[in-house]
Amino acid sequence: MALFSEDDCRTLMKKALSFSKADECEINFSGSDAGNIRYARNSVSTSGFIGQTSMVISSAFGKKLGIVTTNEYDDASIEKAVKLSEDLAHFAPENDEFVSFLGPQTYAPHSNMFDQATADITPTFRTDKVAESLQIAKDNKLTAAGYLQNSASFSSMMNSHGLFAYNRSTDASFSITLRTADSQGSGYSTKDYNQVSKLDTLSFTKTAAQKATRSAGAKAIEPGKYTVILEPAAGIVLLEQLYGGLDARSADEGRSFLSKPGGKTKLGDKLVDERINIYSDPSNPDLPTASWNGDGRPQEKISWIEKGVLKNLTYSRYWAQKQGVKAIPSPDSIIMDGGDASLEDLIKGTEKGILVTRLWYIRPVDPQTLLYTGLTRDGTFYIENGQIKFPIKNMRFNESPVIMLNNLDALGRPERTVSGESFQSALIPPMRIKEFTFTSLSDAV
């Protein structure tokens, strides 16, 4: 299907609002066309094309709210969905935390999130790309498993107070795991961009092939504290636990790693090494994101951690109102400053350490300290005197990103990467960290 245009969205949401009898009504309408191809065992496995849309209808009477989601848009279905949301609102008890929907807002112009060439990708294009990737696998006597997907999406919202917002975007992402024929080596690479022209699947496959070949025959080393170099695809899965945990209410309520005894928070405190700067910027050309969020608030450039100091927290509109502060929404993108050093430079500057390609199965252990556990995967190497010496067996870690960023040794050049856990993108540098805590060995390759 063709994506809904701004005018189409406006027309459909106006129609939905015309059925509303509530005090307030807000409509969020979004959809996407997405194509994918998946391969494994050096052959295509599953693939497909999915066109879907979704309309969320929120109706409120006073401080009573009901929400309904539907994907049927004939007049009768929309009217029925609006009526159901109103029925749910009537059933709901008063919620004194309900905040009226926003009125019209002013948003910054959208960055270039949409690329027509990416929206126009055909099954033939995807198959051709995978064929090239498979050839690398065959040439290197490796077994490939990978995933290439592209999507074109739109998001829009309108409410009974006159707010309207619309944007569209594209995305193309690729991930590849190559394994040696004897299953003793495994290498990985992943990337994600708004423009498919930047997605060099051949180059990423070659990177994974090199890691797979080099990682065969891994040696076991004793678990313990080691200097590590986390490639961006590894670092993001720990960093996102930190910048995903900036909720002010949890901190104010005393149940966050950002809480302090006596109802205080660490806002304004030095939280991590002073070389750490983390911020959001919807207009960054390398990671453009929407200029509005799901409840209609503008998304603006904002600093979260500056020179190691916690500068801002995220707020629901209710909590901001209660605390008398600006209602800063959760960000759609994260950028972490780095330096000019390449990954190779970081390796050269390492006397003894471990290069980590990927971290896997990240789960919280203790929310008080933001302690997380997980394992290395698909390319873990021992470094000595500035050189990769040999592959090592994978290990489980138990580490907090707060402790990790206090043990910072060096930062490299930031690059766009995508989380293998949340599938969210960020601009993150490779990081060299001291005393990273590994607690056991894994036999997994």
């Binding site: 709901a92 008890p93 099954p123 309520e253 005894p261 607690t439």
Partner: protein, 533 residues
């Protein structure tokens, strides 16, 4: 991969793909058959040699509260069609939420076109094990009360009572949710099946938080409920379903109010509990905890798609390689370890009449007397392990996603010798009794894992002496299951599970149950997770 056991923070309340729940809305079977035939005929006209069609209406309801407030009441609905074909020996798939004849035909042509394109890079054609057509049949989860028909006020009243009990018990904060699912699924294939299914699930859960204002330390205790393939009857407590012990545990009905009353003081007790000394301990694992260890360390490695390498790029592969199965003597666990795959178990999340490629549900052994004897397979894998028919493990989480191999209920069978948890604890010199699930993590081949729980009770010389904190255990799957010393009898058997087992690219979730009785494991490595920041 896995899912969120601590799902309170992960339940998609807004903006997740679709849906609205209204039990009144169901689509006429004759209309679904007509739509399915449009796709079957369109695929045939373009040269597809096999086609299946899934028309789905997926309904969810979330009632979400915190303390004295109802935060959200959300009904969601998603309706659409997924068409899967084999053309030129290769799979193709397309999905659409536009269900007029032209749009269905267009989506079908896209599925065939994708299959033909992909056939260029396929190394060997898809081989489907034969499957008979069942004609027009139907199946429904045997529920007593449809949760969607229960007035919303009953649900908000229950949850606010639960919150009130927790707050009166000393909790600083409490969040609670009732989560209902209804999958109305219609399957049709060129094998001659037209299968209409109505599947129901329910998951009530809460989390209380207790804060020590002076030290700033906080602890949580989550509900000891299980998600179930049941109706609202799960929330009508029955005394016969309660297992009384150091804390009350629940079998086939759940007393949410009683559990909330217990939770707040237990969270306070956790705050004051002794920090565990790292080392080797015997573990006595309650089914409310053990289900997750079974899921990660037995369920996932015995998935045939992982064994074969189809998940190598995401969820991972498996240490249970085909040579180990072929040997017929791979020692997965001790003689007490009997693991069964089961798609028919009443009240379980995985129970259906037919899977998402039209195969009737069944039950089979995975581990027999400690030895690996079988896997979990679907139609295009069955021939690889010499099966004459599929094991019926195919599932898609929506009409919009392609179906693939997903885990059936995988359960540890109870011991045959009468044994209660209290008697099991008497046999432990130095150990920890763990109740409830929490943190979980395992490597991509399912060797090395780490788990935590909700409640940890120290066992010294056969007696529970008090609560511990900061506990996590790490082990290797084969070592762990070989350390299984005993499993309690069937009177202690209970189901745990989750709605959110994640696998595949694009990632899909599936709901799965895991049953067990309390089990005893010897000499497992326990670490202390306390840190300072």
């Amino acid at each position: 991969m896995g899912f969120s056991a601590a799902m309170l923070s992960r339940v998609p309340v807004l903006g997740s793909p679709l849906i609205q729940g209204n039990a009144m809305r169901s689509v006429d079977v004759a209309m679904k058959k007509q739509m399915a035939d449009v796709a079957l005929n369109a695929a045939r006209s373009k040269g597809a040699t096999y086609t299946d069609v899934r028309i789905g209406r997926y309904l969810n309801q979330y009632v979400v509260t915190r303390e004295t407030k109802v935060e959200n009441i959300v009904d969601t609905e998603s309706y659409g069609m997924g068409i899967r074909v084999i053309a030129n020996g290769c799979w193709g798939f397309a999905a659409t939420d536009k269900l007029d004849n032209d749009s269905i035909a267009k989506a079908t042509y896209m599925a065939v076109a994708i299959a033909k394109e992909n056939a260029r890079i396929q190394t060997e054609p898809v081989i489907l094990v034969p499957q008979k057509g069942y004609g027009e049949v139907s199946w429904k989860t045997p529920i007593v009360t449809n949760g969607f028909d229960v007035p919303v006020k009953d649900k908000t009243d229950l949850l606010l009572s639960v919150n009130d009990a927790a707050l009166k018990g000393g909790a600083n904060y409490v969040n609670s949710i009732i989560f209902l699912v209804n999958e109305q699924k219609y399957f049709a294939s060129t094998d001659g099946s037209y299968i209409d299914q109505d599947i129901h699930r329910i998951w009530p859960l809460f989390q209380v938080t207790k804060i020590d204002q002076k030290s700033g330390k906080f602890e949580t205790r989550q509900s000891l409920s299980a998600p179930r393939g049941m109706g609202y009857e799960y929330l009508i407590p029955k005394e016969a379903d309660k297992i009384k012990g150091v804390t009350t545990l629940y079998r086939d009905s759940y007393d949410m109010l009683e559990d909330a009353k217990a939770a707040a003081p237990q969270a306070a007790e956790k705050l004051a509990a002794k920090s565990v000394e790292a080392g080797k301990y015997d573990l006595v694992l309650d089914p409310s905890h053990l289900w997750l260890t079974i899921h990660e360390s037995v369920g996932h490695p015995s998935e045939l798609d992982r064994v074969l390498g189809y998940e190598a790029n995401f969820a991972g592969t498996s240490f249970l390689t085909l040579d180990k199965w072929k040997s017929g003597n791979f020692n997965f666990g001790s003689k007490h370890v009997n693991i069964v795959a089961d798609k028919i178990q009443p009240g379980s999340l995985g129970a259906v009449g037919y899977d998402d490629e039209g195969v009737e549900s069944k039950k089979w052994d995975i581990i027999k007397d400690g030895v690996l004897v079988n896997y979990q397979a679907i139609r295009d894998q069955a021939h690889i392990i010499g099966l004459k028919e599929s094991q019926g493990c195919c599932y898609a989480d929506s009409w919009s996603d392609v179906q693939f191999q997903r885990m059936p209920n995988i359960s540890l069978q109870p011991g045959t010798t009468p044994l209660a948890p209290a008697d099991m604890i008497k046999n432990v010199e130095k150990g920890i009794y763990i109740v409830g699930d929490s943190s979980f993590s395992i490597d991509q081949q399912r060797y090395n894992f780490q788990f935590s729980g909700q409640l940890y009770y120290e066992i010294k010389e056969g007696k529970i002496t008090g609560m511990l904190n900061d506990v996590a255990y790490q082990s290797n799957t084969q070592e762990f299951w070989n350390s299984c010393e005993a499993v309690c009898d069937k009177s202690d058997y209970r189901l745990g599970g989750s709605f959110f087992d994640g696998k595949g690219q694009p990632e899909q979730v599936s709901a799965v149950s895991h049953g067990s009785a309390t089990a005893h494991f010897k000499g497992v490595n326990v670490i202390n997770t306390a840190r300072k920041i």
